[in-house]
């Protein structure tokens, strides 16, 4: 998977602290032959550094085509990350998918103003992968 623009490949920033879950997501894409390259951040802070750069780290260039975020993480949880993403002046505009163990009416009404493209209840299934890919690929062509 050398040149992303040639192969239809997308790059995805995966924000996930559990190694097994990271492997599960990457493998799911691979098993479906969906061309995606993954940047992995284990915390919200690391993710923000990868998106915007910091003293220790260069930002990812070009920016990822999509973000997959596990809402259940220590240190900075998903909601806090989203608020920081939303507040940052350089809002990058790529689709953001939240991986969660549950999704309720309260959640739906609460995150309405944050820039979440969709909440996906684990486990990630084939349709979820295709949906993420098609949104990410659509974004990178613009």
């Amino acid at each position: 998977m050398s040149n992303p623009s040639d192969t239809g490949s997308v790059s995805i920033l995966l924000i996930e602290d559990d190694d097994v879950d990271i492997e599960i997501v990457i493998r799911k894409f691979r098993d479906l032959d969906v061309p995606a390259f993954f940047h992995v951040a284990k915390t919200g802070i690391e993710a923000l550094e990868m998106l915007y750069g910091s003293d220790n780290r260069e930002k990812i260039t070009p920016p990822p085509d999509a973000i997959i975020l596990d809402t259940n993480m220590p240190q900075m949880d998903g909601i806090e990350f989203l608020e920081k993403l939303h507040a940052h002046s350089g809002q990058l505009g790529m689709p953001v998918f939240m991986l969660t163990g549950e999704y309720t009416t309260r959640d739906k009404l609460a995150v309405h103003n944050l820039t979440v493209t969709a909440r996906i209840v684990k486990p990630l299934c084939d349709d979820d992968v295709l949906r993420i890919y098609s949104q990410a690929a659509g974004k990178s062509r613009r």
Binding site: G101, Y103, T105, D107, K108, V121
Partner: protein
């Protein structure tokens, strides 16, 4: 793209307020939708098949289903639907107040196309519509 296509939707839910909410949202939608209501799985099956005194409804392209209902719950309905060759290819979207990993695993293999968390909103209808007409806004 033909916007005059009329869609038949069967909505299975026992809550009157939720039914009204869905009716309102569907009325606003750009595509003409004929909405049939069933209060539980048994009524839904009867309407689909025209049994037990119910008039057989026009075959829906989409079933919206609340998983938690008395008499016949959503899961049971899904299983019965799957066993009927005439209806087992109808797209089913779960419409529910909560959806968990447990629910997702429980409905795997029961031909559920997707889920929508209440309240049903315009974006949800758009997403379902696109998946039904077999394309995407890519």
């Amino acid at each position: 793209m033909n916007m005059d296509v009329r869609f038949n939707v069967l909505f299975v839910d026992d809550d009157d307020v939720d039914i009204q909410s869905v009716q309102r949202e569907i009325q606003k939608f750009k595509v003409a939708v004929h909405l049939e209501i069933a209060k539980d799985g048994i009524e839904a099956l009867n309407k689909l098949m025209g049994t037990q005194g119910e008039k057989k409804i026009q075959r829906p392209q989409l079933i919206l289903l609340d998983i938690n209902m008395p008499r016949m719950g959503g899961i049971e309905f899904l299983k019965k639907l799957q066993s009927e060759p005439e209806f087992n290819d109808i797209k089913v979207y779960l419409l529910t107040t909560a959806y968990t990993t447990h629910d997702k695993i429980a409905t795997k293999g029961l031909n559920v196309a997707g889920h929508i968390i209440k309240p049903l909103q315009h974006d949800d209808l758009m997403r379902v519509y696109w998946s039904l007409i077999g394309g995407g806004p890519d």
